[in-house]
């Protein structure tokens, strides 16, 4: 019975953790990185050159996942290679399992970790930096410690989980409703925080105002340059910050429904900003 040593597993994990993105391209995506991560495992499990070559070949093919959560795939494949070396698995099965793992792991990794955990952590760090100018450095420092350490621990544990419990364990981990509940929960958390961020950071004022000289009848004097109409104030008194809210939802609509690229959106915002500035100068909003 062949058994992978803890040292080899660690080697394999660290190669993946640090160098999963080194040679990303359109042909095999992270394939070469996956091959490099499996190399020590293959070296330990197989004696003959032909077996090593065959194993390496099946691991430099197309592979693409969210690499941090996706470390669980590497764990599962380590377990399968071990079984294969002991004659209880086939190369075909390994390859098909690997391809099957791409979808669910990247979906969970992208939505749960990358698109939800990172923004939430960043938000918390942003608010820390904002509390006072003298501790502005604290936010980034906390992020620099919490994110890599937390992710490293998560990634290593997922890798070990994949190796120990194999494909059945992983199916259990993903199909019992708990994973769905966790994703839903993170979505709720993310949405509230993004709502707060939108309210605090997006600025969009309507620079339209009318300035007139007003005659104050009670005092009998002429007041010059009084703002008698301020469009932005009126809009905000009905629903505070409604314009930033609408702008954000509009950008969301263009990006996700109309498939505009971020660069195109940036261009649109630039044009809008220039137009608004001119309106603002014309009406005397910006002096």
């Amino acid at each position: 019975m062949k058994k992978l040593s803890e040292k080899t597993l660690k080697k394999s994990f660290f190669r993946w953790f640090f160098w999963n993105g080194c040679s990303q391209q359109a042909e095999s995506m992270q394939g070469m990185a996956f091959g490099q991560s499996m190399a020590p495992v293959i070296d330990e499990l197989y004696e003959k050159k032909e077996d090593k070559a065959a194993a390496l070949r099946r691991h430099i093919t197309l592979f693409n996942t969210e690499p941090q959560v996706g470390a669980i795939c590497n764990g599962v494949v380590c377990g399968l290679e071990e079984a294969n070396a002991n004659g209880s698995c086939t190369p075909e099965l390994i390859s098909s399992v690997k391809v099957a793992l791409i979808g669910p792991t990247s979906a969970i990794g992208d939505s749960l970790w990358v698109a939800t955990f990172i923004p939430i952590l960043l938000t918390i760090c942003l608010s820390i930096s904002q509390t006072s100018e003298s501790v502005a450095w604290l936010g980034p420092v906390i992020y620099m410690l919490v994110y890599p350490l937390g992710t490293g621990i998560l990634s290593w544990n997922l890798f070990k989980l994949g190796y120990k419990s194999g494909i059945e364990g992983m199916q259990g981990f993903m199909s019992n409703g708990r994973m769905n509940s966790l994703t839903d929960t993170m979505t709720v958390l993310g949405l509230i925080v993004v709502g707060a961020l939108t309210a605090s950071f997006v600025n969009f004022t309507l620079p339209i105002q009318i300035i007139r000289d007003v005659f104050d009848a009670t005092k009998g004097e002429l007041l010059t340059n009084q703002v008698i109409f301020d469009a932005d104030k009126i809009v905000n008194s009905i629903f505070p910050k409604v314009l930033p809210l609408l702008l954000t939802l509009f950008v969301y609509y263009l990006y996700s429904k109309k498939k505009w690229s971020p660069l195109k959106l940036m261009g649109l915002i630039l044009v809008l900003a220039v137009i608004l500035t001119f309106i603002g100068y014309a009406t005397g909003f910006y002096a």
Partner: protein, 264 residues
């Protein structure tokens, strides 16, 4: 900027890019985030306070730029390091909103270079597959690091470090031409401020596209919005409220689904 400052910043542009030698977790997802990048640029340039202030705004704007290989993938590290450095170099004597506006413009320039170089490195990495295949064919387990780590990194380094040095050097040269605060007309800096404030909607809009999965989700987003506008809570306070809500939601959700299983 001094030569050592240019080299240090260019080095961090590389480290914070996708697939640098320190890994995506420490590189792209940490050093590449505008908030972190601004602290590093601030330390290198000797003005942490202004740098982080600029970094906060850039971070909000680029909040949506998260997934390498995904729809919005390009080297954000270009945008953030060059954006913050540019704002510090040219923004002397301007007030904060205008400095942020400048940062947005320089981040745009950096981002454009980043997008081009990302595509270049993506293409240059293709032939590495042949090298990997050759070693795999020969069963050379000890040499599998060569195509991925060594060659991939050489290409990655060349595509990030060199263009960053060129951009930063030309920025330094341009800043020597005169006092920008007095050259730029007032309406330009106003427009930059307006632009910077509106650009935050871009980051939020893209993040929403990941999060809004069901129709009623808009309501939850609005709840967070209203906590700030009507209740005047700080973002930190809302984050705490959000965590509490999320835990309650999770408990309720799992207990409902386990009850359902019992009745089945």
């Amino acid at each position: 900027m001094q030569i050592y400052q240019i080299i240090l910043i260019a080095l961090f542009v590389y480290l914070g890019s996708i697939g640098s030698v320190v890994g995506n977790t420490i590189g792209w997802y940490t050093l590449g985030r505008p908030l972190v990048a601004s602290l590093i640029v601030g330390l290198i340039m000797g003005d942490v306070q202004t740098a982080v202030l600029v970094g906060i705004s850039l971070q909000i704007m680029y909040m949506g730029n998260v997934t390498p290989g995904g729809a919005v993938a390009w080297d954000l590290s270009y945008a953030t390091y060059i954006g913050v450095a540019g704002a510090l170099v040219f923004g002397k004597g301007l007030d904060v909103t205008q400095v942020i506006g400048l940062a947005v413009v320089f981040a745009g320039i950096g981002g454009l270079v980043g997008q081009i170089m990302w595509n270049v490195s993506y293409a240059l990495n293709l032939p590495l597959n042949r090298v990997a295949y050759k070693y795999a064919e020969a069963g050379e387990t000890k040499k599998m690091f060569i195509p991925n780590l060594v060659l991939g990194q050489l290409i990655g380094f060349a595509c990030r470090f060199i263009p960053a040095v060129i951009v930063l050097t030309s920025m330094t040269a341009a800043s020597g031409q005169g006092d920008f605060a007095s050259i730029i007309p007032g309406w330009v800096t106003t427009a930059l401020g307006v632009f910077g404030g509106m650009m935050a909607a871009l980051g939020m809009g893209i993040i929403l596209s990941f999060l809004l999965k069901k129709k009623y989700h808009v309501i939850i987003f609005l709840a967070g919005f209203i906590l700030v506008t009507y209740f005047n809570l700080s973002t930190m306070a809302v984050a705490v409220v959000a965590i509490i809500t999320a835990i309650l939601y999770y408990v309720a959700n799992t207990s409902i689904s386990s009850k359902r299983e019992e009745t089945l």
